[in-house]
Protein backbone atom coordinates (compact mmCIF):
# COMPACT_ATOMS: atom_id res chain seq x y z
CA UNK A 1 0.00 0.00 0.00
CA UNK A 2 2.97 2.25 -0.04
CA UNK A 3 5.54 3.13 -2.64
CA UNK A 4 9.14 4.01 -2.27
CA UNK A 5 11.31 5.37 -5.02
CA UNK A 6 14.29 7.58 -5.73
CA UNK A 7 13.94 11.34 -5.85
CA UNK A 8 13.31 12.49 -9.36
CA UNK A 9 13.49 15.78 -11.16
CA UNK A 10 10.52 17.14 -13.05
CA UNK A 11 9.27 20.30 -14.59
CA UNK A 12 6.02 21.88 -13.57
CA UNK A 13 3.74 22.80 -16.41
CA UNK A 14 2.24 26.27 -16.61
CA UNK A 15 -1.28 25.00 -17.12
CA UNK A 16 -2.02 24.61 -13.43
CA UNK A 17 -2.67 28.09 -12.11
CA UNK A 18 -2.94 27.04 -8.48
CA UNK A 19 0.39 25.29 -8.51
CA UNK A 20 2.00 28.04 -10.53
CA UNK A 21 0.75 30.64 -8.11
CA UNK A 22 2.13 28.63 -5.23
CA UNK A 23 5.51 28.31 -6.88
CA UNK A 24 5.61 32.04 -7.46
CA UNK A 25 4.77 32.51 -3.81
CA UNK A 26 7.55 30.06 -2.93
CA UNK A 27 10.02 32.13 -4.92
CA UNK A 28 9.01 35.19 -2.91
CA UNK A 29 9.39 33.22 0.32
CA UNK A 30 12.94 32.36 -0.66
CA UNK A 31 13.99 35.98 -0.90
CA UNK A 32 11.86 37.45 1.83
CA UNK A 33 14.76 37.58 4.29
CA UNK A 34 12.77 35.97 7.08
CA UNK A 35 13.90 33.48 9.69
CA UNK A 36 14.41 29.89 8.62
CA UNK A 37 11.58 28.75 10.87
CA UNK A 38 9.14 31.27 9.40
CA UNK A 39 10.18 30.28 5.90
CA UNK A 40 9.80 26.59 6.63
CA UNK A 41 6.35 27.27 8.05
CA UNK A 42 5.40 29.08 4.84
CA UNK A 43 6.65 26.15 2.78
CA UNK A 44 4.65 23.68 4.87
CA UNK A 45 1.58 25.90 4.77
CA UNK A 46 1.80 26.33 1.01
CA UNK A 47 2.28 22.59 0.53
CA UNK A 48 -0.83 21.88 2.56
CA UNK A 49 -2.92 24.44 0.68
CA UNK A 50 -1.62 23.45 -2.74
CA UNK A 51 -1.77 19.67 -2.58
CA UNK A 52 -5.37 18.43 -2.71
CA UNK A 53 -6.34 16.23 0.22
CA UNK A 54 -3.45 17.35 2.40
CA UNK A 55 -4.79 18.18 5.86
CA UNK A 56 -1.59 18.78 7.76
CA UNK A 57 2.08 19.28 7.08
CA UNK A 58 5.21 19.40 9.19
CA UNK A 59 8.95 19.65 8.81
CA UNK A 60 11.22 17.33 10.74
CA UNK A 61 14.87 18.21 11.13
CA UNK A 62 17.63 16.07 12.56
CA UNK A 63 19.67 17.80 15.24
CA UNK A 64 22.42 15.96 17.04
CA UNK A 65 21.12 12.74 15.54
CA UNK A 66 17.65 13.28 17.00
CA UNK A 67 14.51 14.20 15.03
CA UNK A 68 12.52 17.28 15.97
CA UNK A 69 9.39 18.78 14.44
CA UNK A 70 10.42 22.35 13.77
CA UNK A 71 7.21 23.63 12.16
CA UNK A 72 3.71 22.29 11.56
CA UNK A 73 0.41 23.47 10.21
CA UNK A 74 -1.80 21.42 12.53
CA UNK A 75 -1.46 19.69 15.87
CA UNK A 76 -2.22 16.30 14.32
CA UNK A 77 1.06 16.49 12.38
CA UNK A 78 3.00 17.15 15.57
CA UNK A 79 1.24 14.26 17.25
CA UNK A 80 1.95 11.77 14.46
CA UNK A 81 5.56 12.94 14.22
CA UNK A 82 5.97 12.49 17.96
CA UNK A 83 4.70 8.92 17.78
CA UNK A 84 7.29 8.18 15.10
CA UNK A 85 10.11 9.61 17.17
CA UNK A 86 8.99 7.63 20.21
CA UNK A 87 8.78 4.40 18.19
CA UNK A 88 12.01 5.26 16.34
CA UNK A 89 10.33 4.22 13.10
CA UNK A 90 7.78 5.43 10.59
CA UNK A 91 7.65 6.96 7.11
CA UNK A 92 9.22 10.26 8.13
CA UNK A 93 12.26 8.65 9.73
CA UNK A 94 12.52 6.16 6.90
CA UNK A 95 12.50 9.02 4.38
CA UNK A 96 15.40 10.63 6.23
CA UNK A 97 17.37 7.43 6.70
CA UNK A 98 16.86 6.05 3.22
CA UNK A 99 16.90 9.39 1.38
CA UNK A 100 13.79 8.19 -0.43
CA UNK A 101 10.26 9.50 -0.83
CA UNK A 102 7.95 7.36 1.29
CA UNK A 103 4.27 7.32 0.33
CA UNK A 104 1.64 5.50 2.33
CA UNK A 105 -1.70 5.25 0.52
CA UNK A 106 -3.57 3.66 3.40
CA UNK A 107 -2.42 2.96 6.93
CA UNK A 108 -5.21 0.41 7.30
CA UNK A 109 -3.34 -2.01 5.07
CA UNK A 110 0.15 -1.06 6.13
CA UNK A 111 2.42 -3.61 7.77
CA UNK A 112 5.67 -1.75 8.16
CA UNK A 113 6.61 0.12 11.33
CA UNK A 114 4.59 -2.09 13.73
CA UNK A 115 5.54 0.01 16.75
CA UNK A 116 4.22 3.17 15.12
CA UNK A 117 1.11 1.88 13.31
CA UNK A 118 -1.34 1.63 16.26
CA UNK A 119 -0.81 5.29 17.12
CA UNK A 120 -1.20 6.60 13.59
CA UNK A 121 -4.33 4.50 12.98
CA UNK A 122 -5.80 5.84 16.20
CA UNK A 123 -4.96 9.42 15.18
CA UNK A 124 -7.24 9.27 12.16
CA UNK A 125 -4.49 9.87 9.62
CA UNK A 126 -5.20 7.63 6.63
CA UNK A 127 -2.36 8.40 4.22
CA UNK A 128 0.89 10.30 4.14
CA UNK A 129 3.76 11.46 2.02
CA UNK A 130 7.22 11.92 3.52
CA UNK A 131 9.90 13.67 1.47
CA UNK A 132 13.56 13.80 2.46
CA UNK A 133 15.19 17.23 2.73
CA UNK A 134 18.58 16.83 1.14
CA UNK A 135 21.42 19.26 1.83
CA UNK A 136 24.91 18.52 0.49
CA UNK A 137 23.91 14.99 -0.54
CA UNK A 138 22.68 14.13 2.93
CA UNK A 139 19.11 13.97 4.21
CA UNK A 140 18.86 16.42 7.10
CA UNK A 141 15.14 16.18 7.67
CA UNK A 142 11.82 15.53 6.01
CA UNK A 143 8.70 17.32 4.83
CA UNK A 144 5.71 15.36 6.10
CA UNK A 145 2.26 15.57 4.55
CA UNK A 146 -0.73 13.92 6.22
CA UNK A 147 -4.30 13.33 5.12
CA UNK A 148 -7.48 12.04 6.71
CA UNK A 149 -8.43 10.34 3.45
CA UNK A 150 -6.86 7.32 1.82
CA UNK A 151 -4.76 7.63 -1.34
CA UNK A 152 -4.55 11.40 -0.99
CA UNK A 153 -1.02 11.60 -2.34
CA UNK A 154 -1.09 9.16 -5.25
CA UNK A 155 -0.31 11.92 -7.74
CA UNK A 156 1.35 14.36 -5.36
CA UNK A 157 4.95 13.18 -5.29
CA UNK A 158 6.29 15.50 -8.04
CA UNK A 159 4.70 18.57 -6.44
CA UNK A 160 5.77 17.49 -2.98
CA UNK A 161 9.36 17.22 -4.19
CA UNK A 162 9.26 20.88 -5.22
CA UNK A 163 8.22 21.92 -1.74
CA UNK A 164 10.76 19.62 -0.15
CA UNK A 165 13.45 21.17 -2.34
CA UNK A 166 12.42 24.60 -1.14
CA UNK A 167 12.55 23.50 2.49
CA UNK A 168 16.00 21.94 1.93
CA UNK A 169 17.29 25.18 0.44
CA UNK A 170 15.95 27.06 3.44
CA UNK A 171 17.71 24.70 5.83
CA UNK A 172 20.96 24.90 3.88
CA UNK A 173 20.82 28.69 3.85
CA UNK A 174 20.07 28.77 7.57
CA UNK A 175 23.01 26.49 8.25
CA UNK A 176 25.34 28.68 6.20
CA UNK A 177 24.00 31.78 7.93
CA UNK A 178 24.50 30.38 11.41
CA UNK A 179 28.00 29.21 10.54
CA UNK A 180 28.90 32.68 9.30
CA UNK A 181 27.26 34.30 12.32
CA UNK A 182 29.18 32.01 14.69
CA UNK A 183 32.42 32.84 12.93
CA UNK A 184 31.69 36.56 13.19
CA UNK A 185 30.91 36.27 16.89
CA UNK A 186 34.02 34.21 17.55
CA UNK A 187 36.15 36.58 15.52
CA UNK A 188 34.88 39.53 17.55
CA UNK A 189 35.82 37.62 20.70
CA UNK A 190 39.23 36.78 19.23
CA UNK A 191 39.85 40.43 18.44
CA UNK A 192 38.83 41.41 21.95
CA UNK A 193 41.33 38.88 23.32
CA UNK A 194 43.99 40.22 20.99
CA UNK A 195 43.36 43.70 22.31
CA UNK A 196 43.93 42.58 25.90
CA UNK A 197 47.06 40.65 24.90
CA UNK A 198 48.27 43.72 23.01
CA UNK A 199 47.75 45.89 26.10
CA UNK A 200 49.71 43.43 28.23
CA UNK A 201 52.51 43.36 25.68
CA UNK A 202 52.57 47.15 25.72
CA UNK A 203 52.92 47.14 29.49
CA UNK A 204 55.80 44.66 29.33
CA UNK A 205 57.48 46.62 26.53
CA UNK A 206 57.27 49.86 28.51
CA UNK A 207 58.37 48.43 31.82
CA UNK A 208 60.97 45.89 30.68
CA UNK A 209 62.24 47.70 27.63
CA UNK A 210 61.59 44.72 25.35
CA UNK A 211 60.32 44.49 21.79
CA UNK A 212 56.81 43.42 20.84
CA UNK A 213 58.03 39.98 19.89
CA UNK A 214 60.04 39.62 23.09
CA UNK A 215 56.99 40.67 25.09
CA UNK A 216 54.94 37.95 23.41
CA UNK A 217 57.70 35.44 24.14
CA UNK A 218 57.61 36.40 27.81
CA UNK A 219 53.87 35.80 27.84
CA UNK A 220 54.21 32.58 25.87
CA UNK A 221 56.86 31.12 28.16
CA UNK A 222 54.86 32.13 31.23
CA UNK A 223 51.83 30.43 29.69
CA UNK A 224 53.73 27.20 29.15
CA UNK A 225 55.27 27.26 32.61
CA UNK A 226 51.99 27.88 34.38
CA UNK A 227 49.68 25.97 31.99
CA UNK A 228 47.51 29.05 31.70
CA UNK A 229 46.27 30.67 28.54
CA UNK A 230 48.05 33.77 27.31
CA UNK A 231 44.79 35.69 27.43
CA UNK A 232 44.30 34.90 31.13
CA UNK A 233 47.84 36.02 31.94
CA UNK A 234 47.45 39.14 29.84
CA UNK A 235 44.18 40.06 31.52
CA UNK A 236 45.84 39.65 34.89
CA UNK A 237 48.71 41.93 33.86
CA UNK A 238 46.32 44.57 32.55
CA UNK A 239 44.20 44.40 35.69
CA UNK A 240 47.23 44.58 37.95
CA UNK A 241 48.55 47.52 36.04
CA UNK A 242 45.23 49.23 36.35
CA UNK A 243 45.41 48.69 40.10
CA UNK A 244 49.07 49.69 40.27
CA UNK A 245 50.05 46.38 41.82
CA UNK A 246 52.84 45.07 39.62
CA UNK A 247 53.09 43.68 36.11
CA UNK A 248 54.88 40.34 35.93
CA UNK A 249 53.22 37.46 34.13
CA UNK A 250 54.12 35.03 36.87
Amino acid sequence: MFSCGPRVSFEVGSDEPTLEGSLQELARVLFAGRTAEATLHDVADLAQRTIPGCDAASVTIIEGGKPRTTVSTAEIAVEVDRHQYAADEGPCLEAVRSDQVIRVDSYDGESRWPAFLPAVVKSGVKSSLSLPLVAVDEAVGALNLYSSTVEAFVDAEPVGIVFAGQAAITLANASAYHKAADLARNLALALEHRDIIGQAKGILMAQDGVSSEEAFDILRRASQRSNRKVYDLAEEIVNRNGNGTGTGPG
Partner: protein, 88 residues
Protein backbone atom coordinates in the same frame (compact mmCIF):
# COMPACT_ATOMS: atom_id res chain seq x y z
CA UNK B 1 46.50 13.34 30.58
CA UNK B 2 45.41 10.92 27.91
CA UNK B 3 48.38 8.80 26.88
CA UNK B 4 47.19 8.94 23.29
CA UNK B 5 47.67 12.69 23.15
CA UNK B 6 50.97 14.20 22.07
CA UNK B 7 52.91 15.35 25.12
CA UNK B 8 53.66 18.77 23.74
CA UNK B 9 51.93 19.92 20.58
CA UNK B 10 54.05 23.02 20.31
CA UNK B 11 57.10 20.85 20.66
CA UNK B 12 56.65 19.88 17.05
CA UNK B 13 59.67 20.70 14.89
CA UNK B 14 59.84 24.43 14.33
CA UNK B 15 58.48 25.39 10.97
CA UNK B 16 57.03 21.95 10.38
CA UNK B 17 53.70 22.95 8.91
CA UNK B 18 52.66 19.34 8.32
CA UNK B 19 53.09 18.58 12.03
CA UNK B 20 51.07 21.67 12.92
CA UNK B 21 48.29 20.60 10.62
CA UNK B 22 48.42 17.05 11.96
CA UNK B 23 47.92 18.35 15.49
CA UNK B 24 45.10 20.58 14.33
CA UNK B 25 43.33 17.59 12.89
CA UNK B 26 44.12 15.54 15.98
CA UNK B 27 42.40 18.20 18.07
CA UNK B 28 39.39 18.01 15.78
CA UNK B 29 39.68 21.65 14.84
CA UNK B 30 38.92 23.29 11.55
CA UNK B 31 41.36 25.79 10.11
CA UNK B 32 38.88 28.49 11.08
CA UNK B 33 38.81 27.30 14.70
CA UNK B 34 42.56 27.43 14.99
CA UNK B 35 42.82 30.65 13.03
CA UNK B 36 40.53 32.39 15.51
CA UNK B 37 42.82 31.47 18.42
CA UNK B 38 45.82 32.49 16.35
CA UNK B 39 44.17 35.85 15.65
CA UNK B 40 43.47 36.30 19.36
CA UNK B 41 47.13 35.77 20.09
CA UNK B 42 48.16 38.49 17.70
CA UNK B 43 48.69 36.51 14.51
CA UNK B 44 48.31 38.61 11.40
CA UNK B 45 47.93 36.19 8.52
CA UNK B 46 44.68 36.06 6.63
CA UNK B 47 42.70 32.84 6.84
CA UNK B 48 43.84 31.98 3.32
CA UNK B 49 47.52 32.53 4.14
CA UNK B 50 47.07 30.64 7.38
CA UNK B 51 45.45 27.70 5.62
CA UNK B 52 48.09 27.75 2.91
CA UNK B 53 50.85 27.65 5.51
CA UNK B 54 49.24 24.69 7.28
CA UNK B 55 48.79 22.85 4.03
CA UNK B 56 52.28 23.65 2.86
CA UNK B 57 50.92 25.36 -0.22
CA UNK B 58 51.29 28.98 0.88
CA UNK B 59 53.98 31.25 -0.42
CA UNK B 60 56.28 31.65 2.58
CA UNK B 61 57.98 34.62 0.98
CA UNK B 62 54.82 36.63 1.53
CA UNK B 63 55.10 36.15 5.25
CA UNK B 64 57.29 38.90 6.64
CA UNK B 65 57.97 37.42 10.05
CA UNK B 66 57.54 33.70 9.74
CA UNK B 67 59.46 32.82 12.91
CA UNK B 68 57.21 34.96 15.03
CA UNK B 69 54.10 33.64 13.32
CA UNK B 70 55.25 30.10 13.98
CA UNK B 71 55.48 30.89 17.67
CA UNK B 72 52.00 32.40 17.66
CA UNK B 73 50.64 29.40 15.81
CA UNK B 74 52.39 27.00 18.17
CA UNK B 75 50.92 28.88 21.11
CA UNK B 76 47.46 28.75 19.52
CA UNK B 77 47.75 24.99 19.30
CA UNK B 78 49.00 24.81 22.87
CA UNK B 79 46.03 26.87 24.03
CA UNK B 80 43.64 24.44 22.40
CA UNK B 81 45.56 21.48 23.77
CA UNK B 82 45.40 23.11 27.20
CA UNK B 83 41.63 23.40 26.92
CA UNK B 84 41.44 19.75 25.95
CA UNK B 85 43.53 18.43 28.80
CA UNK B 86 42.93 20.83 31.69
CA UNK B 87 40.25 19.77 34.11
CA UNK B 88 37.42 22.27 34.46
Amino acid sequence: MNDDLPASPAGAPAGDAAAMDGIRRFLGMTNEDLWLVYIALGGVWSLDDFTGYLQGTGDGRRIANRGREHKVLAQAIDEQFMGLTTLP
